[in-house]
Amino acid sequence: MLQLISADLDRLQDIQVYLSRPIVFCEALELNVPQPMELVGNAFTILERPILDLAFPTAPRALTGAERQMLDRAFWSSVTVIHEGEEG
């Protein structure tokens, strides 16, 4: 069992270098360490799925005043108002 894990981890690391997506494998390893067979199975299952890059740009885009107004209009046009607030 241990040899199987070792061999497949080596293979995963090779693929990891190729894809440069370490987060996928970190998740797989953390989730499945107690169950070696599932570790291998799930790791390859994850590989077959679309890979999601979770990185965010470090410099966010600030909204302009006009964009904030557009966003506010879009929100209010998308909701159904069932009660207008009232002054107490």
């Binding site: 799925r49 999601l52 740009p57 885009r61 964009e67 966003l71 209010w76 998308s78 069932i82 607030g85």
Partner: protein, 186 residues
């Protein structure tokens, strides 16, 4: 820009290729994070009137299911955090006058606008929707059992990671203005 073109444009710039993988089955899932509902009653601040209104909209459930499970013998489980979803159709309709709508959409798709997150189509959101993260609000748990309120489905693993990453970035990213006691401060 036509709605169909705007949909094609944002789809092309998303960080994942298969929008269909974004959602999975909601069968057997109890109220909790990752579910999407329509017609959920919620408060919404109206800046024009300087008052809160009660509205209904599509929402994404943010609160973890353990903290909303009414079978749990716990205090403080009556409120659920939800994020309003603006249907993409409404969003494009109200942003039609944007001087550079393609650029704006590309910046949303590539997560440069932290407070907005596009989600792919799910019935009845034919062209998907936009999570308005800064409008996350709380609702009473009874809002989900009102007449007319409908569970639309649930995100799959890909979708959950995408939304969770956006929430973590929105709520937990390092402060730009250091506080006392943070590194580099006295």
């Amino acid at each position: 820009m036509r709605l169909e073109d705007a949909y094609g444009f944002i789809s092309k710039h998303l960080p994942y290729q298969d929008g269909g993988a974004f959602y999975g089955s909601a069968a057997g899932l109890s109220l909790g994070a990752g579910l999407l509902y329509s017609n959920v009653r919620q408060p919404a601040f109206n800046p024009g009137r300087n008052l809160y209104s009660t509205v209904k909209s599509h929402v994404y459930v943010v609160t973890h299911e353990c903290d909303a499970d009414q079978r749990n013998d716990r205090a403080f489980i009556d409120s659920v955090l939800v994020c309003p979803i603006i249907p993409y159709q409404s969003f494009i309709g109200d942003c039609a006058t944007h001087p550079n709508l393609p650029g704006f959409l590309a910046e949303i798709a590539t997560r440069r606008v932290y407070r907005l997150l596009y989600i792919p189509p799910i019935d009845p959101l034919e062209f998907g929707g936009v999570l308005y993260l800064n409008r996350i609000t709380n609702v009473h748990v009874s809002a989900f059992s009102e007449a007319g309120t409908l569970c639309l489905g649930a995100v799959a693993g890909i979708g959950l990671r995408e939304v969770d990453a956006a929430l973590a970035n929105l709520l937990l990213r390092e402060k730009a203005q250091p506080l006392t006691g943070m590194r580099g401060q006295q």
